[in-house]
C-alpha cells in the first residue's frame, strides 16, 4: 500500500490525465459514428457523444488539484485563490443547453426527411430537393 501512496504522490495529477484520456476517447468514438454510420439517428447520437467529450475536456482544463467549487459559501469568503476556474464551467453550462437545442433541431430534420423519403438511411436518400 505504501508503494501505491508513493505512486499517487509521484503522479499527482493522475485524475486530470485520466479525465483527458476519457474525453479524447469519447470524441474519437463520436467522430467514428458521425463519419461511418448510415442511419441518421445514429449520426445524431454521435454528435451528442462528441458534445459530451468536449464538455468533459473543458471542465478538466479548468480543474486544479486542491481546488474547491467556485461558490462563495460561509467559511469560504476569501478563498478565491483556492477555487477551480469558473470560466470553463460557465462556458460548458451554456454549451450543454445549446447542444440540446442543436440535437432537437437535427432530430426534427430527421423526422422531416423520414416523412418525405420513407427511410432514414443516408445511402437511400439520393434526391437533393425535398
Amino acid at each position: 500500500m505504501n508503494e501505491f501512496n508513493e505512486l499517487f504522490i509521484k503522479y499527482k495529477d493522475l485524475i486530470t490525465l485520466a479525465v483527458y484520456g476519457t474525453a479524447i476517447m469519447l470524441i474519437i468514438i463520436g467522430l467514428y459514428a458521425v463519419l461511418l454510420k448510415k442511419h441518421l439517428v445514429k449520426i445524431v447520437i454521435g454528435l451528442s457523444i462528441i458534445d459530451a467529450g468536449v464538455h468533459l475536456l473543458f471542465v478538466a482544463v479548468g480543474y486544479i488539484q486542491t481546488g474547491t467549487a467556485p461558490i462563495f459559501s460561509p467559511g469560504y469568503e476569501n478563498a478565491a485563490d483556492k477555487m477551480v476556474d469558473p470560466v470553463p464551467q460557465a462556458l460548458v453550462l451554456t454549451a450543454i443547453v445549446i447542444g440540446f437545442a442543436v440535437t432537437a433541431l437535427a432530430l426534427s430534420l430527421v423526422i422531416r426527411l423520414y416523412k418525405h423519403h420513407h427511410t432514414a438511411n443516408i445511402e437511400q436518400i439520393k434526391s437533393l430537393k425535398w
Binding site: 501505491f4 476519457t22 471542465v59 432514414a120
Partner: protein, 93 residues
C-alpha cells in the same frame, strides 16, 4: 487513491457505454446508452468541482435528450439496418 480507482472505473463505464451506443443495432437501446453516458458524465462533473454543471447535465442529458430521441425513433424506424424497397424514387418521377 480510492478516488482515482472510482474515477477509472467510471471512465471505463463511460467508454463502454459510448461504444455500446455506437455499435448497437436496436436504436432504442442505443439511446438508453446515451442516457447512461449522461449519468456518468454528471458524476465526473461533480468530482471535478463543478456541481452546477453536474445538475444541468443530469436534468438535460438524462430527461430531455432521451425524450426527444425516443419521439424521433417512434416517428421513424427502430431497427438500424431496415431497408425499405417500396419508396425508391417515388417522388422523383
Amino acid at each position: 487513491m480510492a478516488l482515482i480507482l472510482f474515477l477509472i472505473i467510471m471512465a471505463l463505464i463511460l467508454i463502454a457505454a459510448a461504444i455500446f451506443a455506437v455499435m448497437q443495432k436496436d436504436l432504442l437501446f442505443a439511446v438508453l446508452a446515451t442516457g447512461i453516458i449522461s449519468v456518468v458524465l454528471s458524476v465526473f462533473f461533480y468530482v471535478l468541482q463543478a456541481p452546477d454543471v453536474a445538475i444541468t447535465e443530469a436534468a438535460i442529458g438524462i430527461a430531455l435528450t432521451t425524450i426527444i430521441f425516443i419521439i424521433t425513433i417512434r416517428n421513424t424506424s427502430r431497427n438500424e439496418d431496415e431497408y425499405t424497397e417500396n419508396h425508391i424514387n417515388k417522388f422523383d418521377k
